[in-house]
Amino acid sequence: MITATPTDSDRCVAILAHCDDNVATLLADIPADGAVVDLVQQDLTHIGSIQCAAPIPFGHKTAVRSIPRGADIVKFGAVIGVATESICVGQHVHIQNVASARLGTPESGSSDAKH
């Protein structure tokens, strides 16, 4: 759940590109023991904060709301994919739990795409 907290310059920041999005893009590496992440809009106005639990690399996405299996992943106010498993707030959102809604099947969402 997003809690309203003032921005601290030492804290991690993630950008919510559109107000309808359920994922935000991290502008910091989240370490293995997690971190509090400040959510900001594209113009960097602070909106709230969430707790990220796991290591997540810079530039990757984290969920700002829980996303049930089969639900749309929304970024830029549009559907960018489908959740292939339930996703909690603060969890890493990427190829291990998202499939394209246009190409490939949901079953191939957690396939052996190496990277």
Binding site: I15, A17, T25, L27, Q42, D43, L44, P57, F58, G59, H60, K61, I73, K75, F76, A78, V79, I80, G81, V93, H94, I95, V98, A99, S100, A101, R102, L103, G104, S108, S111, A113, K114, H115
Partner: protein, 380 residues
């Protein structure tokens, strides 16, 4: 001065004619006598377009004399621009060395006139700019692409034309562009092109991930093609889409245009130059592709007809900044506004269009260049 083979058999003639003559550029390419119908038509239009490009001061068409394309038609269309155009063929010259001699004599005679050309102010309606993404990661859509989009809006409002392409990378975002189409024809042409691109992928039965998005995109945080496309479309700004045309062709009205071409850089550069673009703004996210000094995605370096303004988004790519004309990651570092970066992009485009060399042009990769034209049909 463009030295343009009518077919690939004339590549050796073009290279020999241009050798050592300053400002002569042999556009060596892959047009064979083994293509049919539409591919030949597209190639012919493409060669005409390259010859007509404003960055070509003069054009020497060279051929063997037995090509599938019509040298006379190509010449006439290019000559209609008023620029000096000449044609030399093995057939008309009699033998190879005589063809080389005649070609070089003509080029040297043109050199003086070309050297005397001077710049004069023109309105932005004379300018066509192409825009492209490469090495995309999630920072592209948060910095470089929206800043380029603002600059694109500004150019179009001031009368310039802007063209984008990479049809495959519109899958997932095409509805946004379709909503901006100025006419039903434009809308239909765009949607059909994207549909064809999607079908081509589907019919292979292969999971496209690892190709679209690429391993580099995925490493940089892009999860699906839709996400990449939605981020990419930001570089097209917000203005109406006025035209949609096939590779090898050109827009018929000014403003924002879509050119149907896969995300293969050499073919994109050729297509845009043939469509009259004289400059490209190349938005790069980050990761290892950003660290290639010249250009990513091209096996042949750049095309002299199309100077490239390179824009970098990812703040983590500190060492690679020296390869870029514009660093847009300041937006994410909170040290510069999006509008201010857009202003710097606009200024760089105007300076480049007025003759200032881009970083790439100052340090070109001197690789041997053979340009691959886009084909759809069989090679027989």
């Amino acid at each position: 001065m463009l030295v343009l083979p009518v077919g690939q058999c004339a590549n050796e003639l073009a290279a020999r004619v241009a050798a050592g003559i300053p400002a002569a550029y042999p556009f060596l390419h892959t047009q064979p006598c083994a293509h049919l119908g539409e591919d030949n038509t597209a190639a012919q239009h493409c060669l005409i377009g390259l010859g007509r490009n404003p960055n070509a001061a003069a054009v020497l068409l060279v051929g063997v004399g037995c090509e599938a394309l019509d040298a006379d038609d190509i010449m006439d269309d290019m000559a209609a621009t008023g620029k000096p155009v000449h044609c030399v063929t093995l057939e008309s010259a009699g033998d190879f060395e005589r063809a080389v001699t005649e070609g070089r004599r003509w080029l040297r005679a043109q050199s003086e006139a070309v050297a005397r050309l001077h710049r004069e102010p023109v309105s932005l309606s004379s300018l066509t700019v192409a825009v492209k993404c490469g090495g995309s990661d999630t920072t592209s859509a948060l910095a470089g692409n929206p800043a380029i989009g603002r600059a694109v809006d500004d150019f179009i409002d001031r009368g310039a034309s802007v063209v984008f392409s990479e049809t495959t990378e519109l899958i997932g975002a095409e509805h946004l562009l379709a909503d901006r189409a100025a006419t039903d024809t434009v809308r239909r042409t765009l949607l059909e092109a994207v549909h064809r691109a999607e079908e081509r992928i589907r019919t292979t039965g292969v999971d496209p991930r690892g190709i679209q998005p690429t391993p580099g995109n995925i490493r940089g945080g892009l999860t699906t093609l839709e996400e990449k496309s939605l981020g990419g479309v930001l570089k097209t700004g917000t203005r109406p889409l006025q035209s949609a045309f096939a590779w090898g062709s050109r827009a018929d009205v000014p403003g924002l245009a879509f050119m149907d071409c896969p995300a293969n850089v050499p073919q994109l550069l050729i297509g845009w130059a043939a469509a009259g673009a004289t400059l490209l703004v190349f938005s790069v996210g980050g990761g290892v592709p950003a660290r290639i000094p010249s250009l990513i995605g091209t096996n042949v370096g750049g095309l002299p007809l199309l100077p490239i303004v390179k824009v970098l988004s990812n703040p983590r790519e500190t060492d690679a900044r020296r390869f870029f004309d514009i660093y847009a990651g300041t937006i994410l570092e909170q040290s510069e506004s999006l509008d201010h970066v857009a202003g710097r992009i606009t200024a760089a485009v105007l300076e480049t269009a007025s003759g200032t060399e881009t970083l790439y042009e100052q340090h070109p990769w001197p690789g041997h260049q053979i340009w691959e034209l886009l084909t759809h049909g069989p090679t027989v």
